[in-house]
Symmetry: C2
């Protein structure tokens, strides 16, 4: 079944790239195919300097090899023979020019080991530079709709998981307004692999309509130089999360993944201003007030 | 003796700030005093928007409290009572406007535990956006001179330690041209605490003359928009090192240090351009060729 899953992830990459190029109206994804020395490889697609998108990556990969030591510790096997793994998925991060258009991230992935263990994982979360409540409700509602078709516990459970995962501990703030996050969904959920795959497909398919809608709604909004400065600062926080906490980044760097594909998630520019404090009652202060766990958007 | 060491670190902060302000000619350090909930605090000094310096921090801190779990694992003690620690030091990172002026970092620190263990640590390294061989020789020679007054093994040993420490593993490149790095210098070196303190003072005192000389020599050099773009990229690498590998940053974030003081090391702006490849025979390519271990500059 891993071939079927792999092929579907490839087709998801294709359809998302088409939808985003269409909404952008100018930018085109450039493709780099790469091989991993230890096994497998990927198809990295990067769009830079579009109309709406400043830098975005929609990446497919399928890699295999010996299970890295840090994963062996988490998943000890009884026999002493070397365990091998197969991992495939699609990873997306999009940074727009206009600070009124949110940053988005999605990852959907499948992992299996030669000892028979397998699981699905994934997540999708939105990072508005300025939180717009209408957009936040729309985004979370679209995720809830997708989740509810499969299990009405998924949205509340995976929304909470996202709140906990996309959290910048040292800043005591969430990365953005969250979304959903799930990991190690396997037979222990009492679902079959087919059922879990159908759920992951539902989430994957929900990405393009949700994000192109947000691009379309916000791309022509006007912004100031101050808004751009604040965007730099929010992008700086995004960099902090990805380099300090993100498990996908860590896994990629520790398994000798392709650095340029992993770090495509970082923005073209980011900034750090010492001890920035927002003006009282400003849109920046309002946005910070929304960067916390447990807000019920849907 | 910890009071004496602490006072000296404060005086080092003072003298370095004066020397840098003088060479900058415009910027002034702003001071923030802060307290750490669990014990101790610090004196953060930040200079922004100077003539030469875009953003620089010269920070003193002295913190104490229960030894964090991750340090207890590294330093197990025989008795079961809770161990406490005291840590003091000066940390400096300076990002200049002009890409022809190098970034510099220094840290000197003293650590002791209630079980009697104590040690000194420190490091100083230079990160030129463009490697200038004359400057590299000057910088390393000044470190070698300082080291040789105390032990002729120090420079070769600590230079190699810096090559290994200031290394961005996933990029397979050093952060800059290195310098020296040392840690856990204690009675096991066959030196007294006084002798090791004298060495640390020598290193601390070597900072201002070396860096102000490099500021002065390079601050009026002309540069292009392309040079600024390359500076953004090199600053991006600096961010990668500090957030992924730097132990001081990790220690600070994990011991509930003051985030704005710890992350003052990050530049005002940084950039990431997908799959950047330097033009053959360009100054950028030449610089990359110097970002490796084992170059004998002194």
């Amino acid at each position: 079944m891993k071939e079927q899953i792999t092929e579907w992830f490839k087709s998801l990459q294709d359809s998302i790239c088409i939808a985003i190029e269409h909404e952008d109206g100018k930018g085109k994804f450039e493709e780099d195919n790469w091989l991993r020395e230890e096994g497998g490889g990927g198809r990295t697609r990067i769009l830079q300097s579009g109309n709406v998108i400043e830098k975005g990556g929609v990446n497919f990969s399928a890699v295999h090899g010996d299970v890295p030591d840090f994963l062996m510790k988490e998943n000890p096997v009884s026999n002493s023979e070397k365990n091998t793994f197969y991992a495939t998925g699609v990873s997306i991060v999009i940074h727009p020019h206009n600070p009124m258009v949110p940053i988005i991230h999605m990852n959907v992935r499948y992992f299996e080991m030669s000892n028979g263990a397998w699981w699905f994982g994934g997540g999708i979360d939105l990072t508005p530079h300025y939180v717009n409540e209408e957009d936040a409700v729309f985004f979370h509602s679209s995720l809830k709709t997708a989740c509810d078709k499969h299990n009405t516990n998924y949205y509340p459970d995976f929304k909470k998981w996202a709140d906990d995962y996309f959290f910048i501990t040292h800043r005591k703030e969430t990365r953005g307004i969250g979304g959903i996050f799930f990991d190690k969904l396997s037979q222990t959920t009492n679902c079959t692999k087919e059922q879990l795959f159908a759920f992951v497909q539902e989430i994957g398919n929900s990405f393009a309509p949700a994000y192109t809608s947000l691009m379309n709604k916000n791309k022509n909004l006007r912004y100031t130089e101050d808004n751009k400065q604040w965007q730099l600062l929010r992008r700086g926080r995004y960099v902090e999360f990805n380099l300090v906490y993100d498990k996908g980044t860590k896994f990629g760097l520790e398994t000798n993944g392709r650095v340029e594909s992993i770090l495509m998630s970082l923005p073209s520019t980011a900034g750090w201003f010492y001890n920035y404090t927002p003006t009282p009652n400003s849109p920046e202060e309002k946005t910070l007030s929304f960067l916390k766990k447990g807000i019920n958007w849907a």
